[in-house]
């Protein structure tokens, strides 16, 4: 569905992505993990076309995404930090996005998260007055709203209370069952273990491995993902 070939990107002298190639297929939840500054967010933003790679290509359904824009209607993106225009109410924000996406066809609108997060109660609050966690909830609701084929979630559970995080994780599993591709980054490995089918590990811009979770556990002979990953990281450091 999304294939990335030999992606290179550097900011100044710093190499952020170094020859990354991967195929992402529908029906998978791929967890993107790696230490801080390993290029996870840059990788995600390259797929969205916000960061322009120096070399390599990214194809969506076989078509190059550089300077393309229509493919983004199939992607829902939840950024690390939700940023909205400040003077606008939650309801206005959602209506505006529907309008901009030209999506008044109600069949394709998925308002499940709006219901589950109880956002209708605070529909008339301005986004500038919301707490960090509530902003994340609005951002998550917005990401799933258009029922996109690909979901890209950058540390979605940070700032969410345990109940909301649980709701979000259930939603992710549900969408996976519908055959969607989910790309998720997180530092909370227990969250990843619950939702992910595959793990891709980035280290200093290099893609170290892509493996299914079972395979990882088998190879390291560990029961929890947490221990398996720690073991791998220690082996790498030796």
């Amino acid at each position: 569905m999304i294939s990335v070939h030999n992606l290179h990107k550097s900011f100044g002298k710093l190499k952020v992505l170094d020859n990354v190639s991967i195929n992402l297929e529908p029906g998978n939840v791929v967890a993107l993990i790696g230490p801080n500054g390993s290029g996870k967010t840059t990788f995600i933003r390259s797929i969205l076309g916000m960061v322009k790679p120096e070399q390599g290509s990214i194809l969506y359904d076989g078509e190059e995404i550089l300077n393309a824009w229509k493919y983004r209607k199939n992607i829902g993106y939840m950024p690390q930090l939700a940023k909205f225009p400040e003077r606008i109410q939650i309801k206005e924000l959602l209506d505006m996005m529907k309008d901009i996406r030209n999506n008044n066809n109600t069949d394709h609108i998925d308002e499940e998260l709006i219901e589950l997060f109880d956002l209708k109660k605070i529909y008339h609050k301005r986004t500038g007055t919301l707490s960090g966690g509530t902003k994340q909830k609005v951002s998550a609701a917005l990401t799933f709203l258009f029922n996109p084929k690909v979901l890209i979630l950058d540390e979605p559970t940070t700032g969410l209370d345990p109940v909301s995080a649980e709701i979000l994780k259930n939603k992710i599993t549900k969408e996976q069952a519908k055959g969607k591709l989910v790309l998720i980054t997180s530092h909370i490995l227990s969250d990843i273990e619950e939702v992910a089918s595959h793990v891709m590990y980035l280290h200093e811009g290099k893609l170290e491995f892509v493996k299914s979770i079972e395979q990882l556990k088998m190879e390291t002979k560990e029961i929890s993902l947490n221990k398996a990953i720690v073991k791998i990281m220690q082996q790498k450091n030796k």
Binding site: R45, K52, R72, K83, I88, I100
Partner: protein
């Protein structure tokens, strides 16, 4: 494009600055026109507003608005929207609302108190200068991520076009006063949108006589059809070229 433009305009109207700007211009215009009876004296004062206040407000407001809409733009970038659409909406949203505010603010008093060709020139120059300076503002803003630096750059650009440039032209004029440099002066003036607007309006007034030989050269040039076409064409270029460059830079930028 239309949809995003709608939200940009909506956002601008909401913060009420533009309405204040309109009232401010209206108040000053009414004041000047009723204070000074002689129409050419008050027109000169109005000319200064068009040449100084309009560019200043346009360049500063457009720069600040660009930085304040950064969140909105980031939100749009992950949506199926072209980058150029986002930027053009910002450009037309800001410059249309500012020029409508200006046209109402200065136009209404002019209709009542000072009808004539010069008034039409004043209004048209104000509107074109708004577009020119919004376009220059966006070029400055897209090149620096830091808000304070961006606003500083835009103020400096305004100061350059209103004062420094004229100083340089005067300096050249003095140094080469022994040579016939009127034609070159014409070229220099063409490179500054504010000068272009100033000369075009001054020549419509009786005061053009006071400009001596240079005035005669200009008058001959600017009052002909070719001259008018030339100066308005150049002003339009000033509104279009910086914007095209901005879009080019914006398209290739990492955001």
């Amino acid at each position: 494009m239309r949809r995003i433009l709608k939200y940009v305009m909506f956002d601008i109207l909401r913060n009420r600055f533009v309405i204040g700007y309109c009232l401010f211009i209206m108040l000053i215009t009414f004041g000047l026109l009723s204070l000074e009876e002689g129409s050419s004296k008050s027109t000169l004062s109005l000319l200064n507003i068009v040449l100084l206040v309009v560019p200043l407000i346009s360049i500063v407001f457009a720069t600040i608005h660009f930085y304040n809409s950064y969140e909105f733009m980031e939100l749009l970038l992950s949506q199926p929207v072209r980058r150029s659409t986002i930027l053009y909406s910002e450009y037309f949203g800001v410059s249309c609302s500012l020029s409508v505010a200006f046209a109402i603010g200065m136009g209404v008093p002019l209709i009542f108190l000072n009808q004539g060709l010069v008034s039409i020139y004043l209004l048209l120059s104000g509107i074109v200068l708004t577009f020119v300076f919004v376009s220059i503002a966006l070029l400055g803003a897209v090149n620096s991520k830091d808000k304070a630096r961006g606003i500083g750059t835009s103020l400096l650009l305004w100061f350059f076009f209103t004062a420094i440039y004229d100083g340089l032209v005067l300096l050249i004029l003095f140094s080469f006063s022994d040579y016939p440099i009127e034609k070159y002066l014409l070229a220099f003036i063409s490179l500054n949108p504010i000068d272009l607007a100033r000369v075009a309006i001054l020549l419509q007034m009786d005061t053009a006589v006071l400009m001596g030989y240079t005035g005669a050269v200009f008058s001959e040039f600017f009052n002909s059809w070719e001259g008018l076409l030339f100066s308005s064409g150049l002003l339009l270029l000033w509104a279009i070229l910086p914007m095209l460059l901005t879009v080019r830079i914006f398209k290739r930028k990492d955001l």
